[in-house]
Amino acid sequence: MKVSYFPGCTLKTKAKDLDVYARKCAEFLGVTLEEIENWQCCGGVFTTSRDEIATKLSSVRALKEAKSKNQPLVSVCSACHNVIKQTNAAIKDDAEFASRVNNYNAPEDAYNGETQVLHYLELLRDVIGFDKIKEKVVNPLTGRKIAAYYGCLLLRPGKVMAMDDVENPTIMEDFIRALGAEPVIYSYRNECCGGYITLESKELAKAKSEKVTSNAKDKGAEAIVTACPLCKYNLQKNGGDMPIVYITELLAEALGIKE
């Protein structure tokens, strides 16, 4: 099976592990990630304003290309996924917004939100299946206590992202279980790490990230797993000695394909 893949800028630079293992693991599990041609940066954050058109066009182009191939569009970076999925929903729900987007982007070939947008975790859960992954695990992570960090972007806004229950999600915990490790539930798993504020206010980012890692540690976590490069950066920088790993690294390790 082939799906369209939007890697995003950070996955080509600072977060190569997230990208490389996403492709390898998917291939190993029978899904080829076909990189969208000439993709452009998603912008990192979704602008909620209804009159922000240009900032959403890169997402629309990617969605459109996936539509032309009749493939779902998968990304692994939480931020890219959030921006693309919110853009797709805005096009579906807001006809005025959709028509303005299409006026920018070849109105004769209008895009109306047809593409299915999947996060890599959803690809694993809904397309491949955690059961199947469990069967393919050669290095089960038995005995390891791993805390899932959802942050904000994977889950919210819940109505749009619709990946899981916003306040009590299970997708990453089920993923951790499928790899043979023990998930650690802690309440800050869906609280913000500080995100881009790290640029302006190191103190605020530090306060937010420390809270996440200390809460995970308090509940017995030995490592935190995330899908977002910025979360990883903030947690790593401020989280003391708590190891922060990408979901794809963990997956590759369990599947025995990590170098």
Binding site: D165, E167, N168, I185, Y186, S187, E191
Partner: protein, 664 residues
């Protein structure tokens, strides 16, 4: 040709404000068949009615058209007026020029034109009206109350005390409902059990009340005064009439790990159990999901220890059929699930509990024998945070919360806070609230006492997040008055979960053909004037199944429902609705279409002998309408392919005449 009188009502300024009533009566006075037309300020008043009666006599009227409010409001009034003046009440037609005209139009010209059209339509119908005489049906002098909480108990006692037989159907093994789980009751702080259990005993001992506990209503048919009900008595594997309630079996049963629903799963019970000491009926019940004997055939301890020989592992569900004149729904409420509100960490910490769980923790018969301790470690909490409106007033999240105010939470939270401070002065109590709503006798005084005398901290604001950290719960919320975000280290967090109707209400409503609102509360026949009756005749509403209610309100409504039931059961005969379907046998082709669409089971088929040409006879299968069962909905008249089915008072040709009058 009819001699028709037209009476246009001003309804004060309700109609006359937007409709030129003089122009309407003038225009309608010129319609064919109209011999008298007038208008008056309040047609429903005594003077207005006298005006109608006098006109009937003076002008020998045979048909009446009243242009006024909705027929739901005053049709009965004007029919009585007509009957008093000697004409058949079904010769009266109402043109609704208020709800359907003056109230929805702003422009006088448009309103007046529409009122004239509506009046003309009613005149066209009256031309084809025929006098109708309603039939009568007997009344079964026995009532059914569904639900054995305080609402059902009070309704049953009041009906039985008036001399009628009542059956209570309760799905749990005992009556008592939610009130039996409560500790104290606001605003007087009486112990709930102390005031409830005597009533439960009264029910058990009442010669005219039967309790079907551990039972459910399986099927309902019939109509007001004549309901046929099937009750399923679920197998409890204990002979109810033999068990003495000694409780020995519940002590000896080796299956000890069954979550005790009476204590909301905060402790365990045995597989054979009596929910609580004052249960009525006080008999044991075997939980088939956990009983080793029923599951594997190996155990039988309860049977061995029972000296009364009451255990019967072979018991089957039993079905009882009974006739009732009236049915009361008293199915009650439940707190909503906290699964979708995990920002409050209910699933993450045992020390985040709901208010009902708090009741059990405070109750001397509860899992901690009334000692307030944290469920996680049994340690006494020194800091408790109460959060109001969890899932109530929640418009954004229909899939998890409720848009309405649950009404009871402000008061029980004040009670919990006060009782905590009273019993444990070393415990600090904070309540987060959006609004404190205390409209009830002695309610606000009670809440103020909690604040002023008991030192409960009330903070205007909502909690955004509860985070279990170490053995504490960090409660992050806003204090809108101080304009601060607070982070409080609490030992226990209590969530005032929204309440919702019991899940059994929806299927029951379908069986009863009783209407419900979008929240699954039963709808009343009129929100102000008929609050304890369902729009379906013979179905009455008691307690929280109609809307959130506290105990005093529930008891009042239960009594009101009982009064309505008594009023119904006191009658020997009920006058039916003459506007029912009838079949023209000569046109009926026996196709059964009407029988299939009839929601009330009012149509049957009969083989009948008809005279054919040349002195021959032939047998034909034709539809028959049971006029007592027919509700006059008209489904059959629309479905009938040969046009044999028609509705008295709403005949197809009358409807067509109305349509013609509108389109003219």
């Amino acid at each position: 040709m009819q001699r028709i009188g037209v009476f246009v009502c001003w309804c004060g300024s309700n109609i006359a404000g937007t409709v030129d009533v003089q122009a309407v009566s003038d225009a309608l006075g010129k319609e064919p068949g109209v011999v008298f037309s007038t208008n008056y300020q309040y047609m429903c008043s005594q003077a207005g009615q006298d005006m109608i009666k006098q006109a009937i006599k003076e002008h020998n009227l045979t048909g009446i058209v009243i242009c006024s409010c909705s027929p739901r409001m005053h049709e009965a009034t004007f029919r009585k007026t007509a009957a008093a003046a000697g004409i058949n009440p079904y010769m009266v037609e109402i043109a609704n020029i208020r709800e359907q005209c003056s109230w929805i139009h702003k422009d006088m010209k448009e309103g007046t034109e529409k009122a004239i059209v509506l009046g003309r339509t009613a005149i066209a119908k009256v031309h084809l009206n025929t006098p109708l005489v309603p039939g009568e049906s007997p009344v079964t002098k026995r009532a059914l109350v569904i639900g054995g909480g305080i609402a059902g108990i009070q309704t049953a006692l009041d009906i039985a005390d008036a001399g009628f037989y009542v059956d209570i159907v309760e799905k749990k093994p005992t009556i008592g409902g939610k009130m039996a789980q409560l500790d104290k009751t606001f605003p007087t702080l009486d112990c709930a059990a102390c005031i409830l259990t005597p009533k439960m005993v009264d029910v058990a001992q009442h010669e005219r009340i039967r309790i079907f506990s551990y039972s459910e209503v399986e099927h309902v048919s019939g109509f007001v005064g004549n309901f046929d009900v099937t009750i399923k008595k679920k197998a409890r594997y204990v002979k109810e009439d033999v068990c003495t309630g000694c409780g020995l079996c519940t002590e000896k049963c080796p299956q000890k790990k069954v979550p005790n629903e009476f204590n909301l799963g905060m402790d365990n019970r045995r597989a054979i159990y009596i929910p609580f000491a004052q249960a009525v009926p006080k008999v044991a019940t075997i939980d088939a999901d956990y009983c080793t004997m029923l599951k594997t055939g190996k155990c039988g301890v309860c049977s061995k220890v029972c000296t009364a020989k009451a255990i019967d592992y072979t018991q089957k569900d039993e079905f009882i059929e009974e006739k009732y004149g009236a049915i009361v729904a008293a199915t009650g409420f439940n707190p909503i699930s906290m699964d979708k509100f995990d920002e409050f960490a209910y699933s993450q910490s045992k020390d985040v509990i709901t208010s009902l769980e708090f009741e059990r923790l405070m109750n001397a018969a509860g899992p901690t024998a009334g000692k307030l301790v944290r469920p996680s470690d049994g340690v006494h909490p020194h800091k408790i945070v109460f959060v109001q409106c969890v899932g109530s007033r929640c418009a954004a999240c229909a899939e998890k919360g409720k848009e309405y105010c649950s009404k009871i939470c402000c008061m029980y939270t004040a009670k919990h806070a006060m009782l905590t401070r009273d019993k444990y002065p070393d415990t600090d109590v904070t309540v987060f609230y959006i609004d404190v709503r205390t409209p009830g006798k002695q309610f606000d005084e009670f809440y103020r006492r909690a604040v002023e005398e008991y030192g409960v901290h009330y903070i205007k604001g909502m909690v955004g997040k509860v985070s279990p950290e170490g053995n504490k719960l960090i409660v992050q919320g806003s204090d809108l008055i101080a304009n601060k975000q607070l982070k409080i280290e609490a030992d226990l967090v209590v969530l005032a979960a929204a309440i919702e109707p019991d899940k059994s209400a929806r299927p029951l409503a379908t069986m009863l053909t009783a209407s419900m609102d979008t929240n699954d509360f039963f709808t009343e026949a009129h929100p102000k004037l008929r609050p304890v009756e369902s729009p379906t005749a013979g179905i009455f509403l008691s307690g929280a199944c109609q809307g959130p209610k506290d105990i005093p309100e529930t008891v009042s409504q239960a009594g009101a429902a009982a009064a309505k039931v008594i009023g119904l059961l006191s009658k020997d005969k009920l006058t039916g609705n003459p506007c029912v379907a009838h079949s023209d046998e000569m046109m009926c082709n026996g196709c059964s279409t009407c029988e299939k669409v009839c929601p009330y089971g009012a149509i049957t088929y009969q083989d009948k002998e008809f005279r054919g040409p040349n002195r021959t006879t032939l047998i034909r299968r034709v539809a028959q309408v049971n006029e007592a069962v027919c509700q006059g909905c008209g489904c059959c008249t629309v479905a009938c392919p040969s046009g044999a089915m028609d509705l008295k008072g709403f005949a197809s040709k009358q409807i067509m005449a109305e349509v013609d009058a509108i389109c003219k």
